[in-house]
């Protein structure tokens, strides 16, 4: 207890740049510098400063690993009761907590809000006979093994999305042929026709679709994505919606007053042009969902992911 308080004190002293009354936010980023969560944390705080909504500054701690659950555990351990401590979170952490069976979960924090979302898309090589989401689902049903589908890590959002699609198609989920790729390899494999289809973030596919190497056949959000000429799965009659959302939670035991302060600040930020500009430059969809609605959303996500991960055989 004493150790934590003094550490906070020194951090403030070291970084507070003079002003005694300033209380900078202490932002824990559960990933290494350079990734999506890192960007979410730093760009959001930069937008706070730029829009003058919150100008006390921020210090960042990167603690990456194990789908963000190492950062989560560290946050719960060290930030308890700290009204200025925030943790960047997202759907990957929800999945990580379930698959890694960690002793701490998001329920141990003070959930604040969901802020952004990046939707997935299904893409196929340009000359593929699969033209529509219905074709994709039909191919999945006909022979799930023959339809090799690339995506990110097994157990991630891409994998879970394929599982949900297979479930909708009535195909055995345990039989889907999901092939994990990292980084840009998936685009090369898809463009070269090495795999039959791929599921990944819509913005990643965009450029290749524009140059005609691949075709995007569906996006996974509630609405179409600007600049991508593909229907949503919902439009095609497939009730699957999944996205790589990100947001913030507060420290365990954050006071109600502090929680309200932060939610007010985020509400103000959400209305500023600076934030709109950040969303645009980062390619994020606005997915503002504060307070109790976010709590309910988290519960729902948790249940969906648990069942999906069980069906694909990752969770025993």
């Amino acid at each position: 207890m004493l150790k934590r308080l003094t550490m906070a004190g020194v951090l403030t002293l070291a970084l507070g740049a003079g002003a005694v009354s300033a209380e900078p936010a202490k932002v824990m980023i559960p990933a290494n510098p350079g990734g999506g969560w890192d960007g979410a944390g730093r760009h959001t705080m930069a937008a706070f400063a730029q829009s003058k909504v919150f100008t006390d500054g921020a210090s960042f701690t990167n603690k990456g690993g194990a789908a963000g659950t190492i950062g989560l555990a560290e946050f719960v351990r060290t930030a308890k009761g700290d009204d200025n401590a925030l943790l960047v979170t997202g759907v990957i952490m929800v999945g990580g907590v379930i698959t890694n069976k960690t002793p701490v979960s998001l329920a141990d924090t003070t959930p604040l809000l969901r802020l952004t979302n990046e939707y997935n898309a299904i893409a196929v090589p340009a000359n593929s006979p699969i033209k529509t989401p219905q074709d994709f689902v039909a191919a999945l049903k006909a022979d799930p093994g023959a339809l090799s589908v690339g995506g990110g890590s097994a157990g991630g959002a891409d994998h879970v999305m394929l599982a949900l699609l297979a479930k909708h198609a009535g195909a055995p989920v345990a039989k889907i042929n999901f092939v994990s790729f990292s980084g840009g390899e998936i685009l090369a494999a898809l463009g070269g026709g090495k795999i039959k289809a791929a599921i990944s973030g819509a913005s990643e596919f965009r450029q290749f679709a524009e140059s005609g190497r691949i075709r995007i056949i569906a996006v996974s959000g509630p609405t179409r994505v600007d600049g991508i000429n593909a229907p949503t799965l919902k439009e095609a009659g497939i009730p699957v919606e999944i996205g790589n959302w990100r947001g913030f939670v507060g420290a365990p035991g954050m006071s109600d007053a502090a929680k309200k302060t932060w939610l007010d600040r985020f509400a103000k930020l959400h209305a500023t042009p600076a934030w709109k500009e950040t969303l645009k430059s980062q390619g994020w969809e606005d997915a503002y969902l504060p307070g109790d609605a976010f709590n309910a959303f988290l519960k729902e996500e948790n249940a969906n992911w648990t069942s999906a991960l069980k069906e694909v055989g990752i969770l025993k």
């Binding site: 350079g34 890694n100 092939v179 430059s281």
Partner: protein, 506 residues
């Protein structure tokens, strides 16, 4: 002609004083980052991104390019002088380079590394300028089975770094392979060999292994063996500079390293390490002085150093022409483009020619700056060895701590550093080679994942592994590399027996 005109336009951008300034800053920063163990170009660029938000994009990318190239120049310095590679692409450089330094030829090793980097960087940049669109198509040709074959071929390079005992060499290789299995299996999401520790789920960080086995192991070894004796190496004996013979022996490896490095760097799953393995193995086979390998053969420095710089130019090919990031550094650069609202790819050449051609032109200039910056530094770096040893090695341990702790402020990483450092020490004492550990750690997981991807797509049909011309020929070369040398040795021995006269080998 069109390309030339655009390149000239690019030089007009890159030669603006403000951009020259940023190129210089990037090169200096990159060199520094390359020297420090555990801090790589990816991390540096990621950290500088917010700082550069106010700078105009052309200047920012010119600086980033300087960091990318500079890190590879700097990475060789500590490899050669202290046997502590700062980047994974410099591991092979340490093998011969450090031997050279120990025999007082450190300056020649540093010089061949710097000039080789310049030659390869320039060749790579030329190829990037004129061949990029064609080379980029390689990305779509290579499938999982082809990558698997490339990994198998790279594994054959381990044969030449086995050291004096095959048994100990294989023990090192398997130790590296074992470390590579730790963590979540991305294909199935199953955890492997994590012993219940969350920190191990993402595998053991390559940086930690590199820093521990080399820097920490070396420190412990030198402490235990040399502390009471005066410094044995006089880094300045044997001349400052490359001799005529050094030049003669270096220029071919520079060019060969460039030719190997560039296309492999341009592959989405290529990277900078594999070309250095292949180049080292090739130089050892082609060398007229094979007996010098392991004792400080200059070809073994010239080739790999050229290969890693050419690969760095190669990395820019899929990034700029297709928007495909192939390494961690490229992924960060892609994020940097997107931060400015730019999407690399063919469209960007049309919409922002000034930026892209300015960037490409700056690569030529950056290479020159790095050469000018590094050649005079050679003398200074070598004199660094005159610092009392306790401060050199104390400093190495502090910088290793920065690199390892700075990764993710994880206690487990510190424990690994201590444990692996001790293993590195034991390896030194009992003459186990270290390079095979890193080859196993880098190639093992990649070979496994490409093999399993190929088999997943083919639904467990093993014939796909030789199903493409590329994979079949790469595997064929791998087989030749393994079979041919013993076969030739056997024939030579028989010929010797028959004629009872020594054949003029070598």
């Amino acid at each position: 002609m069109d390309i030339l005109n655009q390149l000239i336009g690019g030089f007009a951008v890159a030669l603006q004083p403000i951009n020259l300034f940023w190129a210089f800053v990037g090169c200096a920063l990159g060199t520094a980052v390359g020297v420090l163990p555990g801090i790589g170009p990816a991390l540096t660029i990621a950290l500088l991104m917010p700082v550069t938000a106010q700078v105009n994009p052309a200047s920012a990318f010119i600086m980033f390019a300087g960091i990318l190239y500079g890190a590879l120049y700097g990475g060789s310095t500590t490899s050669i002088l202290l046997n502590t590679p700062g980047e994974s692409g410099s591991v092979m450089t340490a093998l011969e380079g450090n031997r050279m330094a120990r025999t007082g030829r450190g300056a020649a090793a540093l010089a061949t590394a710097a000039i080789g980097s310049f030659v390869a960087g320039t060749v790579g940049t030329l190829a990037l300028t004129f061949l990029a669109p064609a080379i980029a198509e390689l990305a779509f040709v290579f499938g999982p089975e082809d990558y698997f074959a490339l990994m198998v071929l790279s594994f054959t390079s381990v044969a030449v770094v086995m050291g004096r005992s095959l048994l100990r060499g294989f023990a090192s290789l398997f130790f590296g392979l074992a470390l590579g299995t730790i963590g979540i299996d991305t294909q199935t999401g199953q955890t492997r060999m994590v012993f219940g520790m969350l920190e191990l789920l993402d595998g053991i960080s390559f940086t930690v292994v590199l820093v521990s086995l080399f820097a920490i192991g070396e420190t412990l070894y030198v402490a235990s063996r040399h502390s009471s004796a005066p410094a044995a190496i006089n880094p300045l004996s044997g001349g400052h500079w490359m001799t005529r013979q050094d030049w003669v022996r270096s220029w071919k490896p520079w060019l060969r390293g460039s030719v190997i490095g560039f296309p492999i760097g341009a592959l989405p799953a290529g990277g900078t390490e594999i070309p250095t393995f292949l180049s080292y193995a090739l130089e050892r086979r082609l060398s007229k002085h094979p007996e010098e390998f392991g004792q400080g053969a200059i070809e073994g420095v010239a080739g790999p150093e050229a290969a890693n710089n050419a690969a760095a130019a190669g990395i820019l090919v899929p990034l700029l022409t297709l928007g495909l990031p192939s390494t961690a550094t490229a992924a960060v650069l892609l994020a940097a483009f997107q931060n400015y609202g730019l999407q690399p790819g063919p469209m960007l050449f049309a919409t922002n020619p000034d930026l892209l051609w300015g960037l490409i032109a700056s690569l030529y200039i950056g290479n020159l700056i790095l050469l000018v910056l590094n050649l005079p530094l050679v003398g200074i770096w070598v004199r660094l060895l005159l610092i009392p040893r306790q401060y050199i090695y104390g400093g190495i341990v502090v910088f290793a701590l920065v690199g390892v702790w700075g990764l993710s402020t994880s206690w487990v990483d510190l424990a690994l550093m201590c444990g692996l450092g001790l293993i590195g020490y034991i390896a030194r004492v009992y003459d186990f080679p270290i390079a095979p550990v890193l080859i196993g750690l880098i190639l093992g997981p990649q070979a496994e994942i490409q093999l399993r991807r190929a088999l997943a797509v083919s639904q467990d049909d093993w014939s796909v592994l030789v199903g493409t011309p590329i994979s079949a020929s790469l595997l064929g070369i791998a087989a030749l590399v393994l079979i041919l040398p013993p076969l030739l040795a056997y024939r030579r021995r028989r010929a010797e027996l028959r004629s009872a006269e020594p054949v003029s080998a070598n």
